[in-house]
Amino acid sequence: MLIDARQLEQGDVIDADICIIGAGAAGITIAREFTGGSTQVALLESGGLAFDEKTQSLYQGENIGLPSFDVDVNRLRYFGGTTNHWAGHCRPLDAIDFEQRNWISHSGWPISRHDLDPYYLRAQPIVGLGPYEYENLDFWRNKIKLPELELDKNRLNTVVYNQSPPTRFGQVYRHELEQADNIKVYLNANVLEIQTADNAAEVTGLKLACIDGPTFSAKAKLFILATGGMENARLLLLSDRNHTKGLGNDNDLVGRYFMDHILLRPGADVSLSDPNVDLSLYSALHRVHDSQMFAILASPEALLRKERLNNFRIHLLRRKPAYPAPVGRIMSRIDKVHGTLDVNEREAGQKQPGLDEHELRKVGRDAISLHMVLEPTPNPDSRITLSNQTDFFGQRKLDVNWQIDHKDLSICYRAMELAALEFGRLGLGRAYGAIFADAAHWPGNLEAGRHHCGTTRMTGDPKTGVVDLNCKINTVSNLYVAGSSVFPTIGYANPTLSIVALALRLADHIRERLHGRQA
């Protein structure tokens, strides 16, 4: 059932078994897990069914960190959340991403990939994906019949990525939620405060308001915060009535370890010595029945361990190259490229053999761009705090201070180098990148991946994390967090599939907990 909270009376109280704050990928997934049952669920969404400027402005904050981070445009604040504009790239995190890696400070989940595997399997169709065949490249290649690069598998592997339609959770699951008698979706319902008992150990209710409507409240047995990687931290910090540091923030960890993928688009461009090489397995999207896939490059675990690298992926895309001249074509004969003869024949007749501007422009298009996505090193100084500026409701806005470890620059360099080495070794082309010209500074095209993580990190120790392995706030008995803010590290994979998998796992835990209480 969908309810416009603006129609509620001033002072109304919503009463449910579970209150979920935020109707994005995580919130909607958890709510759906209870459809048709006896558990009463209130799903609270700040926005309506469509984008609204005034509601969106509640997300405004200030970037006080690296200039390449945009606070306002990444997230969407209406039913369906950021899935209303996500790209749809999907892959589970790798097993190594969950490990405590002694070369990556503050790494390590309290759960393993094995623990999440069954939930990834369940998440796959929810996100609109087909067969769960991420580790089986042949499954796809047998159907699409495209050549795979003959990579040195000690350096780089061809890795499967899936592409969601992309599923807009608000659109796709609206009807189901509307029809569910036990699910009430409250639109235009902005949570202003998570209220607790005096000792801040239990949530007693939520204070809510509409932009053009009443102020009201919500009560439940259990509460789930699912408002995204930045807003989850903000709401905890804002809920400081009984704990001056903010809820769940006894160890000053809420908002810290703010992470986003480190992007270089491109990290390098490859001037192809062979203009006819077929890289479409990587550079194009392929439909297999109801599924879509493409391939990326990533390093094997053994290399990551040996060279103490953060995880990374490289996309191969047909883009206009940044290099000034197609140096790869110089090496066409040395690379023994088929068809080189044609070029030779053309040039043999020229009075001034060599560089012809027209020819150069033409062959300059024979390029492949290497887009780099790097897992960041968790950094406690990269953080979200409350600013002194306030929003429409008088709530303090966010200051976002995205910082990245300088060590990560050398990993970006190495990743690009590995790709360049492989393209050269295979005789496919030569790579050009700003990072090869200046390895001491981040290239000017450094940007964030718009995947906000880490601000309520999950660890096995309350002193080092905000939530426990069940995503419950360590110091609060009935408050859980869903979404990428619980990720202590983020690998290279886009987070949505993992967000949904963790949401399913959390829903199972909540179900067990409630069932136990009822029993």
Binding site: D152, A268, Y323, A325, P326, V327, R329, I330, M331, S332, R333, I334, D335, K336, T340, L341, V343, N344, E347, A348, K351, Q352, P353, G354, L355, L360, E417, A420, L421, E422, G424, R425, G427, R430, A431, Y432, G433, A434, F436, A437
Partner: protein, 134 residues
Amino acid sequence: MNSRRGFLKTSVLLGGGALVGSGLFYSKLKHTRGMAGLLVSFLEYPQLALTVGQGVLKSDPTAYNISLEQMIDTLLQGINTSRDQLPEMPPEQLLDALHQRVRADFENEQIILVNGWLLSRTEAYLCSLLALLS
């Protein structure tokens, strides 16, 4: 014959004029510049290769201040041959040796960074040989 056509092309670029007749072509190979010309004849787009080679000469400590003879020797050592053997080497074999050497460079991370490009040491030196010739 591709290598011969490349040799002719590069000779024009270097101001050496066209070489006519196979006898003159192979006798030229006995001289240093002829050997260098043969080696660089496998590079496409000589003008562009020249620019790359000039960059290598400026930036690479090994290539800096190196003589034409030393550069030839460095390259020939890389493909396990010598100046004496070069004139007798069929062009296809020479091309294959360079191909294998370049591939091995990338395998073994024997690389040179020049103006933002990551190149194998052998191919970078081939380009610098062209710059030395010019």
